[in-house]
Structures are given as structure tokens and as C-alpha cells.
Amino acid sequence: MLTYTLWRIARIIPVALVVVTLIFLLFRMVPGDPARAIAGSQALESTVEQIRHQLGLDRPIYVQYWNYLKGLPRGNLGFSGIYQGNAAPVIIQHLPPTLALLGSSILLTILIGVPAGIVSALNRGNAVDYVISLLVVGMLSIPNFWLGMMLISLFAVSYHLLPSFGFSSALALVLPTLAVSARLVAVVARMTRSSMLEVLQRDYVRTARAKGLNHSVIVYKHALRNALIPTITTVGLQAGYLLGGSIVIEQLFAWPGIGQLMINSVGLRDFNMVQGITVIFSIGFLVINLLVDLVYAIVNPRIEYR
């Protein structure tokens, strides 16, 4: 298990390197002079020249690239013109609210999505299954930010039950979490349903039935464990949606995380900050998938540790 973990971590490094390179190249295509953008349109040409020299923007692009790569392990994500310094500490400062939102969304997804999928599978073809399937298609179609607005309008504006903005208390997490996780709940419920249906037809389940085992033992011990494996993979694949969805929802709920920081930085034309956050989100995706793979390895004893 330890070797497997280390091997999986080692495999992330070249991928992360290529991703960082692509993002670096993408942001070199921003039109205009970055030094001028940092100095401001009123600045003197000599000031712009000085900034350009200080940030190494007067050197060839491969030197800039090399310096950027060298800076990454030391936690240097580039110079933010708005914060007048390294973007990394600013991003780290905005990280806890985002992590809280992501964590609670994953938790809620598992707590609702998996049982919904099981109930749907066990009631295959009847009204319960039909209603759950309809809810799933519905939740896959509603934009998360609009769902968020409706939740605000219902729970915060009409009934004053829950706070609708800011990162002040655990209660403030409720509405943004619901808005982010609705789609994930639907995806997980659908996946759990179809893999449960498949597993319930397997020979070992039939054998367990033939042995006269209790229905709930069969469902929860024999079937569910095996059915969860594709569900876990699905959660990993949806990590991209989770991270992207949090950006939109943070904006709606004035949630002080890195998603909001990213959108504000786009507005302020703080490109190094946007670039830094893009890098952090991509690496976050890799890390979530690493964790999913490790959980997968624990749940599925057949996987080979290499």
C-alpha cells in the first residue's frame, strides 16, 4: 500500500509539470504589456521599465519560464500587481473557506447520493424509482447558481432561516453546499443505481440468496460494497465539476474563497493571480483524484499495488 501510494504521488509530478507549462503558455498570450498593467496606465515609462526589469519580463520567454518553474517549489506563484507581492500567500489565505465548501459538498453528496441510488435500484421500475430518476435528471439540468438563487430566495429572504452570504458560521455553509452538491448528488445516485442493478444480478448475490441469507445482509454486505467501486471513480471524475462549481457558487454567496478571488482578479486584470489560481485548481484536481485512487485501493482488495 505504501509503495502504491508513493508510486501514485510520483506519477503526478510529470503531469503537473505539463499542466503548469500549458497554463504558463496560455497566459503569455494575454494581449498588452504585463508591466504596464501592473504599473497602471498613468505610470511613467521609466517606472514601467523598472517593473519590467524587476519581474524579469525583459528577458526571453524561456528564461521567464525557467524562473517560473524554479519559483514553484519555493511557493512562488508569480507577482500579483494588485497585492504587490507573491500571489501564493494570498491564495493560501483564501483557501480555508473553499476547502470547507468542497469538503461539506463531498460529504453531502455521499450521504444523499448513495442511499438514493440504492433505494432507486431496490425499487426498480416502480414509482419510487421513477420519482428518484426524475429528480436526478432535473438536478442535472438546473444551473447550480440559479438553484443557489432559489435557495437564497426561499430560506434566506422568505423565511430568514439561513444566512445567504459570507463565511461566518457553520450555518452559512448550508445553502452554498446544497447548491454545489445538487448536481453531484444526481450523478452519484445515478451511478450507484446502475452499478447496484448490475451487481444484484451477479452469481454471488444469487448464491447468497439461495443460501437463504437475510435480504439486508445481501444488499448491504454483498452487493453494496462491490457497487460502490464505480461510484467512487465517479466522484473522482466529478472533481473538476466540484472545483468549477465552487467558483460560481462562491461568487453568488459572497464566499471569501479562492473562486471569488479568481473572479475578482479577472476583473482587476491581475493575470498572475488568475494564473496562480488556475495552477492551484488543476493541482487540486490531481490531488482529489489521488485521494480517490487511494480510497479505491482500500475498498477494492483486488487492485494490484505496484
Binding site: 500549458l22 496560455l26 435528471v137 430566495s153 473572479i263 485548481f281
Partner: protein, 296 residues
């Protein structure tokens, strides 16, 4: 060579009859699938509304009536009016064009880039395949919305930036699906037969492998089109999509939060429009999957 591959006239008639019978069978199966029919009807209505938008909209998209701002829904304004007195009903109708164009264009461009890459990778396999797929897997590690925001930052907000951003995020996903399907299809007997008959690589790829790989691709493209609507609306909501005063649904919702207290109706109609259009694509895609790929 041509005499071997070109069927003669009676053969051709038999083939044509068999084809049309297969089509009828297919059509009957499609009409019995409730998801497919519901999705199809929803999409059809949206396409008709988009085409006839100028006729159907009672007011201009940017026609202001300063004396009637934030009016509740009424006969004159079925969905109410917004903060500067524009008719929301008309704007939702005109907005159909933008959301549908975003969906169709970005999915089409994504397909034009992604499908050939997947076809080549899957057909030739080997080192080319592992390099291409390795690169694609890396592209897939950048979350869709994040990459789209980054691209829009570079290109600048607007319709063009939006379509480029969404199609760039979709192309690698379509390439992956194509490659997986081509990998299966190229092992089929009819592909070997076409190769043995001396078909050029290009002909085998475009006439035999690609058409037989279409089913999963069309399912994927339909579901992706729904996602394109969602991503386009999300970027519009963030102020990075189609710019105001264009009546794009996401953009119409971007200041929606401010009205939740006093004029909730301002955000109701555009949100329902987005949800319905995406629902149409999702139901249609699910229906196609039920018919073509029941185990998928």
C-alpha cells in the same frame, strides 16, 4: 477493383429496402422511448422559438419602458420587466438564440477538433496513441470552468471567447470517447474486409470505422451540448460570457441576486429557460443511450 466493390442494380435495391426497413424499426423504437420523445419535443420547440424569435418577441430585446421598471408579471409583460423596464418575456425568447448558438457552435468546433484526433489515435494505436492520449489526459486535469475562465481572461469576454473556451474544453473529451469506440470498431470483421479489399487507410477510416463509431459520439455530443449551455450561462452569470445588454440568459441572471428580495420574478424565467433547454438535451441524450447502448 471497382467491379468488386460496386454492387449491381438489383443488389442495390435489396440493400436500399433493407436499409429503409431498418430505419422504420429504429424510428418505431425511438418513438416508444419517453425520454427521447420528451427531449426531442423540448429541443424542437426551442429551435423553433430561436428561429422565429424576432416574430414571437412582443418587444425589442433592448426596448426600455422607463415608466414601468420591475413590473410584476402581467398580460402586457408575461414574465414582468427588469430594472430598466425591458420586457423579460421578449428577452428570454431572444436569448434562446444565444444559448442555442453557444451549444451548437462549441460542440461542433469541439467535435471537429476532437473526433479526428481520437480517430487517428484509435486507428493507428501504438506510440502515437499513447502520446496523444497522455496529452489529452493531462488537458482533462484542468477543470472545465477553470480552463474556460482562464481562456476568456486571455481572449476577452464575449461570444467568441465563450465559444472558443467551451470548445477547447470539450475537444479532448470527445477525442477520448472517439478513440475508445474506434479501438473496438477497428477489430470488427467488416473493417478487416475493407482493408483486405484494398481500401486506402483514409477510406477505411472515414467510410467504415467512423460511421460505425457514431452512436456513442452522438450521445456524448448531445449531453455535452446541454453542458455547454450550463457553462455558457455560468460564465454569463460571472460576467465573463456574452456581455450586456445582449439578452443572454446567464448574463440576465448576473445581477439577479440583487433582486431576490424585491423582484424575484426577474430571475425566475431565465433560470427556467436554461433548465428546460438543458433538460431537453439531457433527456434526448439519455433516450439515445437507452436505444443504442443499453448497457452503457
Amino acid at each position: 477493383m471497382t467491379s468488386l466493390t460496386q454492387p449491381n442494380e438489383p443488389d442495390r435495391q435489396v440493400v436500399a429496402a433493407a436499409r429503409s426497413a431498418a430505419w422504420r424499426r429504429n424510428l418505431r423504437r425511438m418513438l416508444r422511448n419517453p425520454s427521447l420523445v420528451t427531449g426531442g419535443v423540448i429541443l424542437f420547440v426551442f429551435f423553433v422559438v430561436a428561429i422565429l424569435a424576432n416574430v414571437l418577441a412582443p418587444y425589442g430585446g433592448n426596448a426600455q419602458d422607463i415608466l414601468h421598471v420591475l413590473q410584476r408579471p402581467s398580460w402586457a409583460h408575461p414574465f414582468g420587466t427588469d430594472s430598466i423596464g425591458r420586457d423579460i418575456f421578449s428577452r428570454v425568447i431572444l436569448g434562446t438564440r444565444y444559448s442555442l448558438s453557444i451549444a451548437v457552435l462549441s460542440v461542433a468546433i469541439g467535435a471537429v477538433i476532437g473526433i479526428p484526433v481520437g480517430l487517428v489515435a484509435g486507428y493507428f494505436g501504438g506510440r502515437l496513441d499513447s502520446w496523444l492520449m497522455g496529452f489529452i489526459d493531462i488537458l482533462l486535469t484542468i477543470p472545465v470552468i477553470v480552463l474556460a475562465i482562464a481562456i476568456v481572461t486571455v481572449i476577452g469576454p464575449g461570444m467568441v471567447g465563450l465559444v472558443v473556451a467551451i470548445s477547447i474544453t470539450f475537444a479532448p473529451r470527445l477525442a477520448r470517447i472517439t478513440r475508445g469506440r474506434v479501438f473496438e470498431v477497428k477489430e470488427e470483421v467488416y473493417v478487416s474486409a475493407a482493408q483486405a479489399l484494398g481500401g486506402t487507410t483514409r477510406r477505411v477510416m472515414t467510410r467504415h470505422v467512423l460511421p460505425n463509431s457514431f452512436a456513442p459520439l452522438i450521445i456524448e455530443i448531445t449531453l455535452r451540448a446541454g453542458q455547454a449551455v450550463l457553462v455558457g450561462a455560468a460564465l454569463g452569470f460571472l460576467g465573463l460570457g456574452v456581455q450586456p445588454p445582449t439578452p443572454e440568459w446567464g448574463t440576465m441572471l448576473s445581477r439577479g441576486r440583487d433582486y431576490l428580495q424585491l423582484a424575484r420574478f426577474v430571475v425566475i424565467a431565465p433560470g427556467i429557460a436554461i433548465s428546460l433547454l438543458v433538460l431537453g438535451f439531457n433527456l434526448f441524450g439519455d433516450g439515445l443511450r437507452d436505444i443504442w447502448d443499453p448497457n452503457g
